[in-house]
């Protein structure tokens, strides 16, 4: 009886330990993987059309969802912001509210989350299926390095695409905010843009947003290609890896966003 309990406890502890060491060694493998991708990048850039093709699949095909989401987020932000600002008689400040929220936070974060679900999952599924059908192994047999031929172009395609998508998200969001704030609610056109211009600085507000989206681009792309490469070569393994990409990317984006915001906007301008 007591030996049964002891066995159960030991089993439980072993499972916790296994999960911890497993995730730490996966982190180590992912870091090694990132270094390997960077190492093989010059080889990949010699065939630049591969990367351009991935920018097309990750970036251009994500445009519709990014632009539409940006427009709607900006419009909602404008409506909600107006309701609150009106109480303090500060409804002319709506431009600042919309622009700062989008440029600093919502643009990079929302674009990153959408990118992870739209493009990151596709990258993982593609690479995972290539592994399952032994295409990666076949490439190695033919002395073609899959890191340079398959992984690195997808990684760099994501890193290039996300900052541009985030900038477009912010720009369309501000346009949506303008549509609702000025056209629908009727805030003065000059006040909307003028206050925005006075309150938003290119350094550091816009540049910090771009830095954030670049970091998210690296994180999401790395997670996507890593999960695909590391997937179990079964149908179930690929589906698990795809789910993990979306979950891990979203968590990574939100956690990194908090850390970067602490450093970038601590206590405002002082």
């Amino acid at each position: 009886m007591s030996s049964d309990v002891m066995f159960g406890v030991a089993h439980f502890l072993r499972r916790i330990g296994g999960a911890v060491t497993g995730s730490i060694s996966r982190l180590g493998f992912a870091s090694r993987f990132l270094v390997a991708i960077v190492w093989h990048s010059p080889q990949a850039f010699r065939r630049i059309h591969l990367t351009i093709r991935e920018i097309y699949f990750a970036g251009v095909l994500s445009l519709v969802i990014i632009l539409m989401s940006g427009l709607f987020v900006g419009m909602v932000l404008s409506l909600q912001g107006y309701e609150t600002l009106k109480r303090y008689g500060a409804d002319e400040q709506l431009g600042i509210l919309v622009a700062l929220s989008l440029v600093r936070e919502l643009g990079p974060v929302m674009a990153g989350l959408l990118f992870a679900s739209r493009a990151g999952s596709a990258i993982t599924a593609e690479i995972g299926l290539m592994k399952t059908t032994e295409q990666l192994a076949a490439m190695e047999m033919m002395a073609v390095d899959p890191l340079a031929r398959v992984i690195a172009p997808r990684f760099w395609g994501g890193v290039v695409s996300l900052p541009l998508l985030a900038a477009l998200f912010s720009a369309f969001g501000i346009f949506g905010g303008y549509l609702v704030g000025v056209r629908l609610i009727g805030i003065d056109d000059g006040a909307f843009w003028g206050q925005m211009k006075a309150g938003v600085d290119f350094w550091p507000d816009v540049t910090n947003g771009i830095i954030k989206s670049l970091v998210f681009g690296v994180a999401v792309s790395l997670i996507a290609v890593f999960e695909g490469y590391d997937a179990k070569p079964t149908a179930e393994g690929v589906s698990t890896a795809t789910t993990r990409t979306v979950v891990m990317s979203s968590l990574a984006i939100l956690a990194l966003d908090f850390v970067m915001t602490v450093f970038m906007f601590r206590g405002g301008a002082q």
Binding site: I55, G59, V60, L168, D201, A269, Q270
Partner: protein, 159 residues
């Protein structure tokens, strides 16, 4: 999809992406107006700067002509030393008065420059001689109360 069509689409994507960044730089942000590089420095020391912050506006007659670049405490005189970066196209006379104002009741704090009638102009690195500190509401109220108390107290003694 052949390669040239993909190139075309990616080219369009990159172009409108940079267009969005440019839009945020010029239309949303204030990259082109009063950048930190352009302009000359003026210094002014105040007894109290109130809620003045870095990059607050410097205004003359309500027009933004520069920004606050640095705020330090002079360790000898215990006065605040404010460095302003003023746009090159504006010159101020030697007897300019710098004061710290607030736009509206809850508005932003800024430095106001009121030019005088002197013919000599301030140059880069010059110190503005005449300054007026920020108004601290608590001090105003307590001064008002003391004055009132002194008035009624004096009246009582006369009786």
């Amino acid at each position: 999809m052949n390669r040239s069509a993909i190139d075309l689409w990616v080219g369009i994507f990159v172009a409108i992406g940079f267009g969005a960044i440019l839009f945020m730089a010029l239309k949303v942000g204030n990259l082109m107006t009063l950048d930190r590089a352009a302009g000359y420095r003026l210094e002014a020391s105040f007894d109290n700067i109130g809620g003045l912050k870095l990059r607050a506006a410097a205004k003359a007659a309500g027009v933004v002509i520069g920004r606050v670049e640095a705020i330090r405490l002079n360790p000898k005189t215990y006065e605040a030393l404010v460095t302003l970066r003023v746009d090159n196209q504006y010159q101020f006379t030697r007897d300019t008065i710098a004061s710290i104002n607030t736009s509206g009741l809850l508005g932003e704090v800024y430095v106001a420059l009121d030019a005088g009638g002197d013919t000599a102009m301030l140059k880069d690195g010059d110190r503005i001689g005449k300054t007026q500190s920020a108004v601290v509401i608590e001090k105003l109220i307590s001064q008002f109360l003391f004055d009132k108390a002194a008035e009624s107290g004096g009246g009582g003694a006369k009786k």
